[in-house]
Symmetry: C3
Subunit: 246 residues, 3 copies
Amino acid sequence: MFQARARAEVLKEVVNVVSTLVDEAKFTLNAEGLTLRAVDPAHIAMVDLTLAKDAFEEFKAEESEIGIDIDKLSQFLKLARGDDIVDLRHDEDKRKLKIVVGDITRHMSLIDTTGMSDPKVPNLNLPASVTVRSDDLLQGIRASETVSDHIALVANSEGFEMSCEGDMDQVHWKKAKKDLASLQTENSVRSLFPLEYFSNMLKSVSSGSEVTMHLGSDYPVKMEFRIAGDKGEVRYLLAPRIESSD
Amino acid sequence: MFQARARAEVLKEVVNVVSTLVDEAKFTLNAEGLTLRAVDPAHIAMVDLTLAKDAFEEFKAEESEIGIDIDKLSQFLKLARGDDIVDLRHDEDKRKLKIVVGDITRHMSLIDTTGMSDPKVPNLNLPASVTVRSDDLLQGIRASETVSDHIALVANSEGFEMSCEGDMDQVHWKKAKKDLASLQTENSVRSLFPLEYFSNMLKSVSSGSEVTMHLGSDYPVKMEFRIAGDKGEVRYLLAPRIESSD
Amino acid sequence: MFQARARAEVLKEVVNVVSTLVDEAKFTLNAEGLTLRAVDPAHIAMVDLTLAKDAFEEFKAEESEIGIDIDKLSQFLKLARGDDIVDLRHDEDKRKLKIVVGDITRHMSLIDTTGMSDPKVPNLNLPASVTVRSDDLLQGIRASETVSDHIALVANSEGFEMSCEGDMDQVHWKKAKKDLASLQTENSVRSLFPLEYFSNMLKSVSSGSEVTMHLGSDYPVKMEFRIAGDKGEVRYLLAPRIESSD
């Protein structure tokens, strides 16, 4: 059993985050809310999302799983304004999700979740963490996109840097410790990441949010941010690229 | 003889309506105003437009016909703001339409109307009629576009419904009688239409307008709406599709 | 040696003008400011731009030349708002231009200027001149673009006209002398130009500017306008097309 009502902008946030990595996703439901864990087809990145029942206007669910075509849900939500109320109801007999916005009802076929994996979140010991405004990060990413396919994230006691080295040009985006919301690191750490993944992930973060990144050297980055007015949380994990030593 | 002056937004409304179905059109002129009737190349839909001379700032015409390339006229009108005055004059010797907006004059070749048909408006007895705001209809159409190529229009004593049944998903848009500007029907009627035609027709209606639809069962729909601040009228006819009985 | 600070919108104006004709350009620097002269690859048009040191917030330069990839500079400037300060510094050892906007630094490879030509500005005796608002000219150009690939510029004692003659349609844009900022001509002059070049040049002019055109009969047009709040000047030269006499 699952039935809920939510403001469209909450569901849009969820869809933006998930669609970054997968087209279809399994939502796990219980009385406390909703969780979702998914790995992209290339196994380079993982998303781990939780949304408490308080993020909804109404929420009732038994333990269950529903498989959703994220594109379809995204298209449907485009019909709604941010503060429209969306009504969701799982029709178990017909294996559909009934979604209502205003005068419109869609009966959406659900996806069989039998074959869908349950990714484990790896246990990572990441020595550095830095908190940055998403809009600042996006500006650094936009500056990098014309220069290389990879971006290095560097944290040390002085500040945080994104660095992009192309054959011809180099781009550096840098914030001193005093200009960061938070910075904790004992040693200098540096890892290299595929820029497209990193960029898509950050573009899914709502403007005005803060993103906390946990970093090591040649280790994955774990990015955390809040959604749904602090009633939900997203963790992205992104695997590093090995830097060539030339 | 034809010479007239009109606000650009009036002509833009005409062009939007006509370009839905045809690239070239024959305008029939007389002292009372302008009429246009055209059938799309696939003979699925017809437009029947009348614009009274009062819709113009100035209007003088003898009985005549001019064939206009709708794309060219549309391009030219994009140069004008809505409240700019457009000056039109038929140069019969050169077979051109002289159009002036501000500092710009275009001498536009007219199209030979000899071969252009004079479609007859069929005499239809449609038992149901419903009046709906164009913006509401458009939202239902947008919800349907991802689901199927066809849309069913259904009217009964309780309300009006647009319904779209795909292989996987179904979309329903529904208004109860009390939420409709008008609804008149004795029995329940239902007809199926090609969504793309229906969608293009409604997208040509100015935002904020009301559209009256006359409906039967497996019969064409006749859509009526006013243009040019009530000084003009459009009737669209759209042929039904036969519903398969599976 | 070259180091300077400028508001981003000043550099954007320069980039817009230069990118109309070339992808790469040689900037010539000295203590008084910056000049640039370039001819498009087809040798149909020339740009001659000067920017006084007063156009910059700070400006220090010895006599030198730097070759810049205009596309790269344009991309980078898109990261800045108009009133952001851009810091430029020539790193002669690494043959790079270091550009800083806010938190972002780009080290941009410079282009070897050895093979780049030094075009001479031809000495032209153009008997007519007319000054027109750029936005008015652009409207005439937009009206012409659907009609022909060429545009005739005509000046006489009564006014100024842009005229475009296609096989089917003709477009004329005309301003009487009294509606022009300035018009000086003894005889009637007329020259024909490739519309795409003329259009691209005028689209690079900031909205609200005035453009002075110097004209003859079957002669190049010289277009002049100010940039950087009157601290810079642009001259475009565009070669005429010979009119066929049919």
